[in-house]
Subunit: 325 residues, 2 copies
């Protein structure tokens, strides 16, 4: 993508085998850019990295006033479809008098290997609650019911999505130049990567109004329940556990990663041009270490920024090098 | 990687979401470069794309004289571990008086979803024959036994790997600047991408000597048994079926793809800088169409070069565009 820089090298033996390019921006709590790699003006799709923005109308409207932190963490999650996630999604639906058929996220096999194997052993097909976005969709359903709006809540002109777009544009401080349809069928609004980092900066410095209260609750819910935001072995879960409550991080498809760091008054956004998750993970972990939010000695820090890369017999064949241009 | 060019855009909605860069080279049967995108001098690891080179000593030595085309196709395969593949690997081992424990490729769950589910239902662990490289390793074992060499045939100084390196350097026309250890524990020799394309060109114009005979047999075995080279749904299998015997194609990890086209006197090599399989598949299919080896109306041609990209509810969310610089 125009203006991107090399972010990560993938080494095998003593030679660079592959490289990842992209952009990264760090903002303060006022949304001011403090540091950038690549082109901060690059327009990207945030994908699932912006779920906490998509959850703002749920709280600001009062629709979600009785939700626990666990519900809110699931609403911001790209979860692995383990029982801890699907049980909560099912109970949330039941509490609303709804069921799996009310979701519009579509079906995929759980990303959690044990959960996927359990379905195979039971000869059961996965449901929509197994979709990694099902928590976000429960939130959409609850907000839509509060509005008295119709069941097709993922349509871009549905009141739920119109409210999400308004919140997204206010948080990013710019009009979105358009949307794409996400893997879960909801519209995903494009923005500049520096605007996405600014939104995360604003999450890190919430005010005392309804929006600030909503932002503070969502960040805290994610940081308190890392196991719900991804799952065992997931980068978001392991990073937030290692950060010990210092903030929230969230991945998005096609190489996006964000961080919200209230104690440090910082927001971060990363986009790898080629969409590689391994590179986005390496870069966000590196920036978290630089900012003092992640201990370099934490196993997850070493794993995501270096590896090693091992093969089918556990032999070390290479490693990652984060170059950041 | 230095000198690479944009090869593929990934579109979502009306916007470029991700891009893939890399190199591609087309050579004739004499190994002369006819057309190139990016930097032909870029040094890469061919990974599994060079399995037909790794199989040359097996045939040239006479060790594999009684092997069928099916065995040779499996020796050149990155197969999915379906029964059609594992049954053949097991029988090949048994014919040599060996078993799974003689392999040194390591274990991974079969890439074929039905085979993986069958293991889970039977509560069985995968074996080394399920490793996508097990056919290549059967060939190494057979050649090693012929040489009377020891069991650790993946060691870089083992007679099997010394012979593979000699064949690789002769075919590529250059000394390899070094090796990395592959996912299956065998050494993988680095070379320039134009040298890899030249090797594939030489495969496309085999002479009447022992090497030419070996090259001709290996290309024909792959083209005749596409189902063994990958498996149902695999790019190599679908491309070779659609090519109707016009040649052989082979993928390699980290974004490599090659083609051998005897009727057209051409060899092709592709490397995506970021290691993306989706981009390597899109580029090789585009070059096969340009060269007249693949009908643009073939479903696999459209699928690999365009998509569409669909989501969890089957909604079209985007597509690929091959730009080739």
């Amino acid at each position: 993508m125009a203006g991107d820089v090399e972010l990560v090298q993938v080494i095998r033996g003593d030679r660079v085998e592959s490289v990842h390019r992209g952009h990264a921006v760090i903002c303060d709590g006022a949304g001011q850019v403090l540091e950038a790699w690549g082109n901060g003006a690059a327009v990207i799709y945030p994908r699932s990295s912006c779920k906490m923005i998509q959850a703002l109308p749920l709280l600001e409207s009062g629709a979600g006033r009785d939700l626990t932190d666990r519900h809110l963490a699931l609403a911001c999650a790209s979860h692995r479809g383990a029982p801890i996630h699907t049980d909560l999604a099912r109970s949330w639906l039941a509490d609303m008098g709804m069921d799996d058929d009310d979701l519009r996220c579509g079906v995929h096999a759980p990303n959690d290997a044990d959960a996927a194997a359990a379905l195979i052993r039971a000869d059961e097909a996965p449901c929509q609650v197994h979709n990694n976005c099902s928590g976000k969709h429960c939130g959409f359903l609850m907000f839509g019911a509060h509005l008295g709006a119709g069941p097709e809540y993922v349509e871009p002109d549905h009141p739920v999505q119109r409210a999400v777009r308004a919140a997204f544009e206010e948080m990013t401080g710019m009009e979105s130049p358009g949307y794409g349809i996400d893997g879960c069928s909801a519209p995903n609004f494009a923005t500049r990567i520096d605007a996405l980092a600014a939104a995360m900066g604003r999450f890190a410095r919430p005010g005392g109004d309804a929006r600030g209260t909503a932002m503070r609750r969502l960040t805290a819910a994610m940081a308190r329940h890392p196991e719900l935001v991804s799952g065992e072995g997931g980068a978001c879960t392991d990073l937030m556990r290692a950060m010990g409550g210092k903030g929230a991080v969230k991945t998005g498809a096609e190489g996006v990663f964000i961080a919200i760091l209230p104690e440090l008054d910082r927001g971060v956004a990363v986009k790898c041009s080629d969409g590689a998750t391994r590179a986005a993970e390496a870069v966000i972990a590196t920036l978290l270490m630089r900012l003092g939010a992640l201990d370099a000695e934490a196993p997850v820090a070493r794993r995501l920024t270096h590896g090693p890369i091992t093969n089918r017999r556990g032999i070390e064949t290479g490693h990652l090098e984060v170059t950041l241009g």
